[in-house]
């Protein structure tokens, strides 16, 4: 047993650090840019041109065919340097691998370069008003008419929709088939007539997700990934394309470190928040849980390296890390004591309102990408082998 990265991986780490320190200046510009979207695209393109995007993809698909451990090293370094997620992150982790596995050669040639360089930004149109956790009950219809699908329906909570150039969506192509066997995986140009995006404000105040309406939207038949009516299996395989979660650990570690430094500065009477025994116990608890998650990640990575299937173990990491993220964010807010509710831009606000944003941000983690309740079901059924709860899915 060892936790060592190979000399080659460590050399790679050095290379990333050097590149980041030479180029991080550009990143600072994004925050201040007049056109932040363009700046975010430029940043991803720059990362791509330096060979840091699509790391484990085949070379024929524009990737680097790098090892899993290099992928881990890269995501650790990016999180360490607090580099924000790439603008096309959703497509890079889900759609890209789907096209590589199930797409036609033509689809790969057409779409992968734009995903990698962020020339084309993608959104994921899965959830609907009537189909969230029970995704297979979705009702957006796609009817094949000659060489085109005609799509009618509505998607919701679609992240990035207003800025997206393309959408990968699930639509029902056979309403008579059992619900998992009548779904297709389609690629839709967001500029197609009939597509309407209505941004939704989220609980934290931001405009992160939207509603997307489809009204007689025409999608070429060639933009169906895999077989017609075979979309559910394909979508599922990429929902399970989860990473070892080690980059999330580094981010949580940085959160906790910021919390510790803040607590050391916050005055409570003639002491600091960090002197309070209750707070010290909480910080220690989060330290324990982050180490637990890190070592769980190493176990998952070892399984992957040894070619053992990840199975449902990703649900363990997702459930645990979203909860941990929320506990840390909640404590950060509470450490501010009486000043915790002071709004941003108000006099006496703590940390310029960052704590509120972090708190709301954390709340979304146990809903998006499969809720914590669904993670519990998955663990109960697929790891413990318990019988399914009575439901018709």
């Amino acid at each position: 047993m060892d936790l060592l990265f190979s000399p080659a991986d460590e050399q790679y780490r050095t290379r990333i650090r050097a590149w980041l320190s030479d180029n991080a200046g550009d990143l600072a510009l994004i925050a201040k840019a007049e056109d932040p979207l363009q700046a975010a695209r430029d940043w991803q393109r720059k990362m791509y041109e330096a060979g840091f995007v699509g790391l484990t993809w085949p070379k024929s698909c524009g990737g680097q065919e790098a090892s899993l451990t290099q992928q881990v090293v890269l995501s650790e370094e990016l999180a360490q340097a607090r580099i924000p997620h790439l603008i096309n992150g959703i497509a890079l982790t889900t759609l890209g691998p789907t096209l590589i596995q199930h797409g036609t050669e033509q689809q790969r040639q057409r779409f992968l370069p734009g995903i990698l360089s962020a020339k084309e930004i993608w959104c994921q149109g899965f959830s609907e008003p009537g189909a969230g956790s029970d995704l297979p009950s979705l009702t957006t219809r796609a009817v094949l008419d000659g060489d085109e699908f005609v799509v009618n329906g509505q998607k919701v909570w679609t992240s990035l929709a207003p800025i997206a150039d393309w959408c990968f969506l699930l639509a029902r192509t056979d309403p008579k088939a059992p619900k998992r066997e009548g779904i297709s995986y389609l690629l839709c140009d967001m500029k197609t007539p009939g597509v309407t995006v209505r941004p939704l404000r989220n609980a934290g105040g931001g405009f992160h997700f939207s509603e997307v309406f489809f009204e007689d939207v025409k999608i070429p038949r060639d933009n169906c990934v895999g077989e017609i009516n075979g979309g559910w299996k394909i979508a599922r395989s990429t929902l399970e394309h989860e990473r070892s979660g080690l980059s999330g650990v580094v981010a949580l570690e940085a959160n906790l470190e910021r919390q510790r430094q803040m607590a050391a500065k916050l005055k409570v009477g003639d002491k600091t928040a960090l002197d309070k025994p209750g707070n010290r116990q909480k910080l220690a608890q989060y330290w324990i849980e982050i180490e637990g998650l890190r070592h769980l990640g190493y176990r998952a990575l070892s399984d992957q390296l040894a070619g053992r299937p990840p199975g449902a173990s990703a649900s363990v990491g997702k459930l645990f890390s979203s909860r941990l993220r929320q506990k840390i964010a909640k404590t950060s807010l509470e450490l501010a004591g009486p000043l915790a509710p002071v709004a941003k831009k108000s006099p006496h606000v703590i940390e310029r309102g960052r704590l509120h944003a972090g708190y709301f941000d954390a709340l979304g983690y146990s809903i998006g990408g499969g809720t914590s309740e669904i993670m519990h079901n998955t663990i109960a059924e697929r790891i413990l082998g318990l019988p399914r709860s009575t439901r018709d899915d």
């Binding site: 047993m1 190979s6 330290w287 324990i288 998650l293 176990r299 363990v316 413990l384 318990l386």
Partner: protein, 377 residues
């Protein structure tokens, strides 16, 4: 990068699970709750030695099994599952102490006796101060360099496997420094008073009344007894954490199995989310606990800087995991879960006992707070 058990470790675990399941029955712990504490009979003890498990973590040159701390932890985890008395953890932690002692005579003679099962050795660390750990130790060892004798006086509590021990490794203060001193059970001035744990395990109070031992009875580590003691405390602690993992995991398994079979309202109770989600939470706790345990064992073996904090993390987390798992075990079995016959309460008793051994969760969080919160910057 390889952070899973090796094929040999998995094989040893399976052998241990079978062997202990055949040769030890949980009824012995159940009976011990009303009778004198449970101990390992001589024939089973000899078998454990023949399997090469006593001192499995010691160097082969010294007669041990040549394995690392993780391997020792795997054995202790199996002992926890099987409800075997705490013999592995005391034997293996003592073996580690002796092997890492600078005292050549101990390494050559004593270790062989321990590995062969001829001598049962245990650790006497905690005293009656309402807390745990090396910092609370007061028992005095007096004597000076010219004098070739040490004199020990004081009382140790909660000494595991004390009624069958031939030798105690006693934590003491000597010239303001902490150290470990080997004291024979039959030395003049030693009194062993039986105690018993909630789970029927054998613990004792050890009274030392001006016990004289030769200075060579001092165990040292690079000439520094204090760091040896702190290291031994961490090794012992991580082994108790492994025992807790064993209790948690086997109870989770028993309870999941029951949830698949027991039918109420026309369906297996495991289909009710109030049941299945509680079990899923326990599974998450167990998986995190196992990960922490591996991390702590590896850090100890590699002598990494954060090793004591990782041991504290594993113990703190697994204390709570084992208690949660065994309490859930009682609840989710319903009436039978509350019965004397079912083994679940035996695991609950063991978990409760081990959780209060070598530091509860608050204690270990305090250790981590001292390590993490007060770092500069």
């Amino acid at each position: 990068m390889d952070f899973e058990l090796s094929a040999e470790q998995v094989a040893m675990r399976d052998v241990a699970r079978n062997m202990l399941g055949e040769r030890w029955h949980p009824d012995k712990m159940r009976e011990a709750i009303d009778k004198p504490p449970a101990t390992i009979p001589t024939d089973l003890w000899a078998e454990l030695s023949q399997m090469g498990w006593l001192g499995v973590n010691c160097d082969e040159i010294l007669g041990g099994g040549g394995q690392d701390i993780l391997t020792a932890a795997i054995l202790v985890e199996e002992a926890g599952r099987a409800l075997l008395p705490s013999t592995f953890s005391t034997n293996l932690a003592s073996a580690w102490a002796i092997e890492n002692s600078a005292n050549q005579a101990h390494r050559d003679g004593l270790l062989t006796e321990l590995v062969l099962g001829n001598k049962r050795v245990t650790l006497a660390i905690e005293e009656n101060h309402g807390s745990w750990g090396p910092d609370t130790i007061e028992l005095n060892a007096t004597g000076n360099d010219r004098d070739d004798t040490l004199h020990l006086s004081g009382t140790k509590l909660l000494v595991p496997d004390g009624s069958t021990a031939d030798l105690f490794l006693v934590a003491a203060r000597h010239d303001e420094n902490l150290c470990l001193v080997a004291v024979d059970a039959d030395a003049q001035g030693v009194t062993v008073n039986a105690m018993k744990r909630l789970d029927g395990a054998d613990i004792v109070e050890l009274e030392l009344n001006d016990v004289a031992v030769p200075a060579s009875a001092l165990l040292q580590w690079g000439g520094d007894g204090e760091s040896l003691l702190r290291e031994v405390y961490s090794v012992f602690t991580v082994l108790i954490a492994a025992d807790l993992l064993g209790s948690a995991e086997v109870t989770l398994q028993m309870t999941s199995d029951y949830a698949k079979e027991r039918v109420q309202f026309g369906q297996p109770i495991g289909s009710f989310q109030a049941v299945s989600h509680r079990l899923a939470d326990i599974l998450v706790q167990v998986e995190i606990g196992r990960s922490l345990l591996y991390g702590a064992c590896l850090a100890l073996t590699e002598q990494r800087e954060e090793r004591h904090a990782l041991v504290a993390a594993a113990k703190s987390w697994l204390n709570e995991t084992a208690i949660d798992a065994t309490e859930a075990g009682v609840q989710l079995h319903g009436g039978i879960g509350y019965s004397w016959e079912l083994d679940v309460h035996l695991h609950l008793r063991r978990a409760r006992s081990n959780a209060a051994t070598l530091g509860d969760s608050d204690f270990h969080r305090d250790q981590i707070a001292n390590y993490y919160c007060d770092r500069p910057g």
